[in-house]
């Protein structure tokens, strides 16, 4: 797309673009190139000698059982968060879309968690599920469940899934609500007169009409679970116990920053970049379809 009427100026557009381009080159392209280069090198632990080793780092990473385990954890985590956050948001949006009293107040009270930092959300829930002092943590131990997310990997994973979902419900709610509100009420009224109940109306009319939004949210929720949940995991479990909650992004951090394995960590970064590019490409294909719809 282009405008018909424009300004003629030789230097000015470059000057206007300069700040954005400078930051993009210095802090995006250069580091991304470095990551790719670094992923093809092996460095001795003192950083004195480096050797070009082609794709050996990738071979090592992709055959490492710990990495494959992290892939599995990431997918369980991402699918659970996406499923929980999307279904509960859709249910709430469906209810909030009805012509009820206080709909505006409900909306306000359902969207604020978007503003809570992932790490802060983790702290809030830690205070509830702490095995010794937490309200639910103690309650569970009192009724005989040996709750301790610092020792039990499954419990730890469930807890990070809960926190990550809790924070994402508001976002999905807003998008689902907007999609539902764009469905003409007359269609639903007609169905209601024909005797279709709430559930039937939902599955035969509403669900097909909001499927583009659902698909978009599916992608956004996957990206969120992959990347934005680092704070939840770092604050709550540190990837533990025994790597039970170590997602791919957490592993890049712990291998690179804590264990200083630059080659391996860079190879993992590059793999993650490929995943983001894939997800973004799928998302944009969908948007193009929606535009030409």
């Amino acid at each position: 797309m282009q405008r018909r009427v424009i300004f003629n100026n030789k230097m000015l557009p470059y000057l206007l673009l300069a700040p954005q381009l400078a930051i993009t080159v210095i802090f995006f392209f250069w580091p991304a190139l470095q990551a790719i280069l670094q992923s093809l090198l092996r460095q001795d632990p003192f950083g004195l000698r480096t050797k070009f080793i082609w794709f050996d780092n990738y071979a090592v990473v992709l055959s490492d059982p710990l990495y494959l385990n992290s892939v599995k954890t990431t997918f369980i985590f991402a699918f659970s968060v996406t499923a929980i956050a999307m279904t509960s948001a859709l249910l709430l949006a469906f209810m909030a879309d009805k012509n009820i009293r206080g709909a505006g107040a409900y909306k306000t009270m359902l969207i604020w968690p978007y503003a809570v930092a992932p790490a802060v959300a983790a702290v809030l829930w830690l205070f509830i599920f702490h095995p010794n002092i937490g309200y639910f943590g103690r309650a569970m131990r009192e009724i005989g469940i040996p709750w301790d997310y610092k020792l039990n990997g499954n419990q730890a994973l469930s807890l990070v899934i809960l926190v990550a979902s809790w924070k994402q419900v508001s976002y999905n709610f807003l998008f689902f609500l907007a999609a539902l509100q764009s469905i003409p009420k007359s269609v639903l009224e007609a169905a209601s007169i024909d005797g279709a109940g709430s559930a039937r109306q939902f599955w035969t009319i509403v669900f097909p009409l909001i499927s583009p939004t659902s698909f978009f949210l599916l992608m956004v929720n996957m990206v969120y679970s992959f990347f934005d949940t680092f704070g939840v995991i770092h604050a709550l479990t540190g990837g533990g116990p025994g790597k039970a909650t170590e997602t791919l992004i957490y592993k890049v951090y712990s291998d690179g920053v804590l264990f200083l394995d630059l080659g391996g960590s860079s190879a993992q970064s590059v793999i993650l970049m490929i995943i983001v590019i894939g997800l973004t490409a799928v998302q944009f294909r969908y948007i193009e379809r929606k535009v030409h719809y």
Partner: protein, 283 residues
């Protein structure tokens, strides 16, 4: 018909109240926790109603950030750091995106599409996937542990540039022609016409970007090493440490409430712009 609607409403209220309660419960408990003393919480005897120590807990969290066991940083310092970071990132993103979108839309010059795509693909390179090399660049530039290092690398924004570009394309050609007939140059047109027209978009983006900046975690975790530079989100997690039962939970919870306050208030009081920003920026 009436009966059906009534039944539907009852059902709606039921689910919505549960939803609101589940979302609010952790914050309620944090509020309660911030009003008791360390002993009551450590013994697991905290009731579900407020205790007597609210004022002293918040004063401690704000002024010193330390209790019997926790040696933290005053929330005052950390909130200021978070505020500087959130404002620098949000205003910086808006400023550089406005001018770069203006260049791409209102001028024709060699490399226009190439530069646009350069900005566009940064969408696919979130800071999380290039942590270590970006850290190295910042450290080579000597920007570790400074506001510059904390904010500049996060200022480039494909989202904001795309959004402003989209909006600029809808500005009628007649306005541009009128400005040119009046003898206004591109900068004058930007300042007198484009900027005022973009007000709503700027407000909406500001809300989203402020929250984004305030809630940053991984980047400040790497870049800040001294206590004076700590942001509030990082500070709280550091106060918890290993998460023993015997710690100053009341101060940690007071700091947690303080950390949530600015972004949550912005969402509640600027709800209209928040919703617009969220929906627009993720299209």
């Amino acid at each position: 018909m009436k009966g059906y609607t009534h039944n539907g409403n009852w059902q709606a209220h039921f689910f919505l109240v549960i939803g609101v309660a589940v979302l609010a419960f952790p914050v309620y408990l944090a509020l309660i926790g911030s009003t008791w003393d360390a002993g009551t919480i450590a013994r697991g005897e905290m009731p579900l109603y407020p205790g007597p120590n609210m004022v002293s807990n918040y004063l401690l969290a704000w002024g010193s950030g330390s209790g019997q066991r926790v040696m933290g940083v005053p929330a005052e310092t950390m909130m200021l750091n978070s505020l500087v970071m959130a404002l620098a990132i949000s205003l910086g993103k808006i400023a550089i995106s406005l001018i770069s979108a203006y260049a791409v839309v209102f001028f024709r010059f060699p490399g226009r599409m190439f530069f646009f795509w350069m900005i566009f693909v940064t969408l696919m390179l979130p800071v999380e996937v290039r942590i270590i090399p970006t850290y190295k660049v910042v450290s080579d530039l000597g920007m570790i542990d400074s506001y510059l290092g904390l904010t500049i690398p996060l200022i480039a924004s494909a989202t904001a540039t795309l959004l402003f570009r989209q909006f600029f394309l809808t500005i009628p050609d007649e306005l541009v022609e009128a400005a040119r007939i009046d003898g206004a140059g591109p900068l004058r047109f930007f300042w007198d016409t484009v900027l005022p027209l973009s007000r709503t978009n700027i407000a909406a983006l500001f809300v989203i970007m402020f929250i984004y900046g305030w809630n940053q975690y991984l980047w400040p975790l790497l870049i800040t090493t001294s206590k004076d530079m700590s942001t509030i989100v990082i500070g709280i997690v550091k106060m918890i440490g290993t998460g023993d039962a015997q710690t100053d939970w009341q101060i940690i919870m007071a700091a947690t409430i303080l950390a949530m306050l600015p972004p949550v208030m912005i969402v509640i009081f600027m709800q209209r712009w928040f919703v617009k920003g969220l929906v627009d920026s993720d299209k």
